[in-house]
């Protein structure tokens, strides 16, 4: 018995220690990466996994670290994961020193008290265009600096428009746009594609039409709002836009446009390079508003943020890094490295236009654009946006009329925001 018992005991201990060995031997690697606490190394998180360690972007961050006298450990997450990670890390008090985060998430993160405001950080934000800075503001304080900005416009296929006899300059209102789509359909092509997916991207793409009707996010069920959703739904119903838009992400719409079958696509500054390389000639015009003129499109792009640290002495260095990333030259460099950012300051925009005069339409569009969390919406925006994209989905798929869908959306949004 005792012999058997010993054998079993040894076996069990063996099994356990194997399990523990798996945890125990990790000490060295763990310390190497957890050097966040150490003096000479600073962490930066960004949402650009496509830019590897050897990319121009990564090198730029390294350079800013060198200028501040520290080394930088950069980690790239996809946007969704980065927001989660920022929250989890903040909860554990182990945030990165600098985070680049998509602008609608900034007020959410700021609201949790996890961010240092720019005044405390000693950063001057006065040069930033107010409409672009708005997404970083909460209760009168500013919690970040845009690394650059982008927005939406209508790209078109020159060959298809020529075949259909459509002059892009004539498109200045919803009526002229719909008429153009009908001529394109008549010439045997597909009119327009956009992203109506049930995520933030769906709201992002719908907003230029929503705002362009004169509607406000505080009243989702206004007549103006219904007319905007009716516009999209009628395009799908009349075959001017494909049914797949209900499930399309922005990337998918762009892939559809690249087939050369579509007249128009709603897409952003970031596709400028890809458009230039497409197998056909392309152009872009601002998205028209209902009655005529340019509709306000939502601003896009990331903000540089400084999360709260236990060791406040780190802020000085982090400030230097953020400054280096957001100087006029820095913003132009970002614009060039990424090809899809317009600098957020007037001097930056002027400098960029000197190098790339062809981006004039985009600079104008960015200056006309509107922050999604602006109009004092702040952290109410994500709640409203969820209802908005749900209404878009319900109307496009034919589950509800635009009016019913938006009415339900407004009720839920009002209940959720308490307004």
């Amino acid at each position: 018995m005792s012999k058997k018992f010993t054998q079993i005991a040894i076996a069990t201990v063996g099994a356990l220690s194997l399990a523990l060995a798996a945890t125990g031997c990790s000490g060295t690697t763990g310390q190497a990466t957890a050097s966040q606490e150490g003096g000479g190394s600073f962490t930066v998180w960004d949402p650009y996994p496509q830019h590897e360690a050897s990319s121009a972007w990564a090198k730029r961050i390294d350079k800013c670290g060198q200028e501040a006298g520290v080394t930088i450990a950069r980690t790239a997450y996809d946007t969704q994961a980065l927001t989660n990670q920022a929250l989890l890390a903040a909860q554990e008090g182990k945030s990165a020193d600098v985070i680049l985060l998509d602008n609608p998430a900034v007020s959410t993160l700021a609201e949790t008290g996890a961010l240092v405001d720019m005044k405390t950080a000693g950063l001057d934000t006065s040069a930033i265009e107010p409409n672009l800075l708005a997404a970083g503001e909460l209760d009168g304080e500013t919690f970040g600096i845009p690394v650059g900005a982008n927005t939406l416009a209508l790209y078109y296929n020159k060959d298809i428009l020529a075949q259909a006899g459509v002059d892009p300059a004539s498109i200045t209102s919803w009526d002229s746009l719909t008429a153009a789509l009908q001529s394109i359909k008549g010439s045997g092509h597909k009119g327009i594609t956009f992203a109506g997916i049930g995520t933030e991207e769906g709201s992002f793409q719908f907003l230029p039409f929503f705002w362009g009707s004169g509607a406000k996010l505080s009243a989702l069920d206004s007549t103006e709002a219904v007319s905007a959703l009716d516009l999209w739904s009628s395009w799908v119903k009349d075959g001017l836009a494909p049914n797949s838009v209900i499930n399309n992400s922005q990337n998918t719409t762009w892939e559809e446009f690249l087939t050369g079958d579509f007249g128009f696509v709603v897409n952003g500054t970031w596709q400028v390079n890809s458009a230039a390389k497409a197998g056909f000639a392309t152009g872009y015009i601002p998205i028209p508003s209902k009655a005529g003129g340019v509709a306000p499109a939502p601003t896009g792009g990331e903000f540089l943020l400084m999360p709260v640290q236990k060791d406040e002495s780190r802020y000085a260095t982090s400030t230097k890094i953020v400054e280096c990333m957001s100087t006029t030259e820095g913003q132009v460099e970002t614009a060039n490295t990424f090809a899809y950012y317009i600098p957020a300051t007037v001097p930056g925009q002027e400098l960029l236009l000197k190098e790339h005069p062809e981006l004039k339409v985009w600079v104008e569009a960015v200056n006309e654009a509107k922050g999604r969390t602006s109009d004092n919406l702040g952290t109410d925006y994500p709640v409203i946006s969820e209802q908005l994209w749900t209404a878009v989905q319900n109307s496009l798929s034919g589950a509800q009329s635009s009016q019913d869908a938006l009415k339900a959306a407004q009720q839920k949004a009002a209940a959720a925001t308490g307004k």
Partner: protein, 322 residues
């Protein structure tokens, strides 16, 4: 690789039997089996305590507090009792999500199991290439879910999907697989059945291997058809494996998020939203993560699994008693 469960189940445990069989050792052994059993299970117990207790506790704690994001980060959330549960029950999504979860799970399970079993039986008879083909059947499982789910949404795309192209080629009307409220759930179920076949095939095939060949030989001598052999030998003898396969299948199907999320994001509207995708959407699908409602819906799922777990225990007990 011989005899099978249903006869073995009814027998007393080995340890006790061994005690009786070796009279001289009775005193020592009476302590032995239990201690031995506990020692064999010890690593698992430690493991469960270390890795599961905390997440489970956390999920319950989240559901009983109002964790706004600020509270989540700062760690000071208000205790609200069952308010979150009431909110979930009274939400307009609840009925839809409940029905969808039931349909998604039941239909997926039935088809995954039926197809998995049919294939397992088919592959049981060895023929040329059978093991290679069986191995190939598992490939869908090797693919990261984002890849296989994307492939499905690609194939089912209304305008440029191969499935609709085939329908048009056959002179039929194309269907809006992913974008019409009536079809979205069906589409994700089809993809999920496809994903679940390898799992069922592996377990059921493995279970079939444990059925002794001489049973079939005897039945064949008696002149039983293969159909009859299946219902009188295969199916009854496979019952314990069937029970565990279905139970595990249920647990995994209830949890499915990725495939639905990638294909339809639970839409259009709520038409393909299940409890699991609802929980995911609350936590990560919108701009504001709401961990409390997410955990609440997650706990509902755990409760559903508990109910089926109890059912399983009962069935198992009946089997043991019979």
């Amino acid at each position: 690789m011989m005899t099978v469960t249903h006869t073995a189940e009814s027998r007393p445990d080995v340890g006790e039997k061994a005690d009786a069989a070796v009279p001289g050792n009775r005193r020592q052994r009476s302590l032995g089996p239990r201690t031995a059993a506990a020692l064999f299970a010890a690593p698992l117990l430690v493991y469960l305590l270390v890795f599961y207790a905390f997440p489970l506790y956390r999920n319950i704690e989240l559901s009983l507090h109002d964790y706004t994001l600020r509270a989540f980060v700062q760690g000071k959330a208000e205790f609200v009792g069952f308010d979150n549960y009431l909110a979930v029950f009274s939400s307009s999504t609840f009925i839809t999500a409940f029905t969808n979860t039931a349909v998604f799970t039941a239909v997926s399970l039935v088809f995954q199991y039926a197809l998995g079993l049919a294939l397992a039986v088919f592959f049981r008879s060895s023929f040329r290439l059978s093991s290679v083909l069986r191995g190939l059947f598992l490939i869908p499982w090797l693919l990261p879910l984002i890849v296989s789910a994307s492939a499905w949404s690609w194939m089912l795309n209304s305008d440029n999907g191969i499935v609709n192209a085939a329908l048009v080629g056959l002179g039929l009307e194309p269907l809006n697989w992913l974008t019409s409220p009536g079809l979205a759930l069906t589409s994700v179920i089809i993809a999920n059945i496809w994903l679940g076949i390898p799992f069922n095939l592996v377990i059921l095939y493995s279970g079939l291997q444990n059925i002794p060949k001489d049973y079939y030989e005897a039945a064949a001598l008696d002149g039983a058809s293969s159909w009859k052999q299946f219902w009188s030998i295969t199916f009854p003898l496979l019952r314990p494996v069937t029970a565990i396969t279905l139970l595990l299948g249920l647990v995994y199907t209830l949890k499915v998020v990725d495939i639905i999320w990638i294909m339809t994001s639970g839409g259009p509207g709520d038409t393909s939203t299940t409890f699991a995708t609802w929980s995911y959407r609350e936590a990560f699908g919108t701009g504001t993560p709401d961990f409390s409602p997410a955990a609440t819906v997650g706990n509902l799922l755990i409760l559903i699994a508990l109910a089926f777990g109890l059912l399983y225990l009962r069935v198992q007990k009946n089997q043991e008693e019979s």
